[in-house]
């Protein structure tokens, strides 16, 4: 596709800037400097985005609840996050007397570090990926599971029953939905034939006519995306899966006993996790940085990536404003009895898709199978749904 050099340069503007900056250094330092520069950029950009998102979320929720939201600090309340940040920084850092101080301190730190690591493999634009790992997806998931331990550390070290309960809930929920998340991504890996995220994006960045080859536009991709989106919501403890911090039951879950900057770190980590998981979903199903229609490719790739991520964030916020919270047993049942079998079957359907070859036949067959399974499983689940008293068989 012939685009003017201006747009090409705009697309690669960050690469060009980096190379220009690094050019001042001796040649032997350049690779290391590149990495350091990129890390710094990531560490700067995403917290900035986080700040923007908080105000965006508060104002958006406000509108959904028919009120104004923050509007006092700066124009339209846009400086609210700065005020919040200053407040968090100068607040007293309270550590409960019987808390396990070291672990209490390490928990938010390890959480944020692990979450930041996830961004290393996300391709945020054409040629814009920090390390293009061969096993990028695996790396992403191995980092995202590491956060579970941080959550546990936070909950346990606080010596507070609400914290501990919240942490246990969070860990159980994250483990359960981690499986779904992973399995729904595996179907993409099966088709793309690679664990490298930039290869996966490249596989989706061609067009037939004006329409892109995104995986969401296939039966298995749609099913996988829906599962992924559900699991991602649960994985980031967002509403309607926000039981771990359900304030009506558990005060604030595992960060009840955190205050000041540590609390801010948790807050940051949570939003960063949201960004990263949206970024991964974008990469896997929504074509990453590729444009939605073929004639829009002149717009720089990173704009597409970030707009898709922000769109996902908006959906997160929208759901938070709309859906009520689930109950713990419903949550677990849903993960193990519906999502997990459905994603497993989706894998089989993906294999069908792969082996049936080109043609309309595979569209019909795969769509039919997935729809039939969905209807069948939905009915079975609904039938066996007894709204009786809760029973805990595994933990008391």
């Amino acid at each position: 596709m012939a685009t003017s050099p201006f747009f090409t340069d705009l697309d690669q503007i960050f690469i060009i800037l980096r190379d220009w900056l690094v050019g001042f250094l001796p040649a032997s330092w350049r690779p290391a400097a590149c990495v350091v520069l990129e890390v710094i950029i990531i560490i700067c950009v995403f917290p900035g985005l986080f700040a923007l998102t908080t105000v965006f979320e508060r104002k958006g929720l406000g509108r959904m609840q028919n009120r104004l939201g923050p509007n006092r600090v700066g124009p339209y309340g846009l400086f609210q996050p700065i005020a919040d940040g200053i407040k968090a920084l100068i607040k007293e850092d309270i550590v409960p007397f019987s808390a396990n101080a070291v672990v209490h301190f390490l928990a938010p730190l390890s959480l944020v570090v692990a979450v930041f690591m996830e961004f290393a493999v996300l391709p945020m634009g054409r040629n814009m990926v920090l390390v293009d790992l061969d096993a990028g997806l695996l790396f992403f998931f191995s980092m995202s599971v590491s956060t579970e331990l941080s959550v546990f550390m936070a909950g346990w070290s606080s010596r507070n029953k609400y914290s501990l309960l919240g942490a246990m809930r969070a860990v159980a929920q994250m483990i359960s939905y981690e499986v779904v998340l992973l399995l729904s991504s595996v179907s993409v890996v099966m088709i793309a034939g690679s664990l490298s995220l930039s290869t996966i994006v490249a596989a989706q960045s061609s067009y037939s006519g004006i329409f892109p080859h995104w995986y969401i536009f296939t039966p298995w991709g749609l099913a996988g995306f829906v599962m992924y989106a559900i699991a991602a919501t649960a994985e980031t403890n967002r509403s309607p899966f926000d039981l771990p911090e359900g304030e009506s039951e558990l005060v604030a879950g595992y960060h009840t006993e955190y205050s000041g900057f540590k609390f801010a770190l948790f807050f940051l980590g949570e939003y960063l996790a949201m960004f990263s998981i949206s970024g991964l979903g974008t990469t896997l199903f929504l074509g990453g940085w590729s444009a939605p229609l073929s004639f829009l490719t002149f717009i720089p790739s990173w704009i597409w990536f970030f707009s898709k991520v922000m769109l996902s964030i908006f959906v997160f916020i929208w759901m938070r404003g709309t859906l009520p919270r689930l109950r713990q047993d419903q949550l677990m049942n849903f993960a193990w009895k519906f999502c997990l079998p459905y994603t497993l079957l989706n894998l089989i359907v993906t294999a069908f898709w792969h082996f049936m070859g080109e043609g309309w036949m595979r569209w019909v067959v795969c769509t039919a199978i997935l729809a039939a399974i969905y209807v069948f499983m939905g009915r079975v689940e609904m039938r066996s749904e007894h709204f009786g008293p809760r029973r805990y068989r595994y933990a008391e």
Partner: protein
Amino acid sequence: MNVVFYLLAAITLAGGLAAVLLKHLVHCALATTVAFAGLALLFLQLDAQFAGFAQILVYIGAVAILIVFTILLTRGSELPKGGVFSRTWFVGLVIAAGVFAVLAWAVLESVRGIPQQTAVPAVTVHDIGNALVGRYVLPLEIVGLLLTAATIGAVIVAMHEKERRQ
């Protein structure tokens, strides 16, 4: 042999030692996690990306969580009254030291036959995938079966027996 190796080895061993020596079970579990992470990094140092990430995914993501869950479910987070080491801990220590002695001796004895530094093997994830579903497909299936059986077994073992109805 470089600094990174020594650093990682130190982290791993320190994690392992802490896991064995610390009093508090949860601390032990967390120290184990450190050892696991150190090992994963050692794997990366050995150019085994896939194994390293799998190590993190399985050990930190699953095994460590399992361990802390078990600790909490068995009230292991409360400190025991009668000390953490068994009465005859000395015997165990001697045997462990003996094991290390024998192993180290074996390594050092055969050090002349050990190959020298070799080139980084050009193995991609794709190759590993091909090997898994090609040459090693039978073990893969068996491991799948084993994991299923283990999952079911673990659930059944740990499950409360229902109250017998009359």
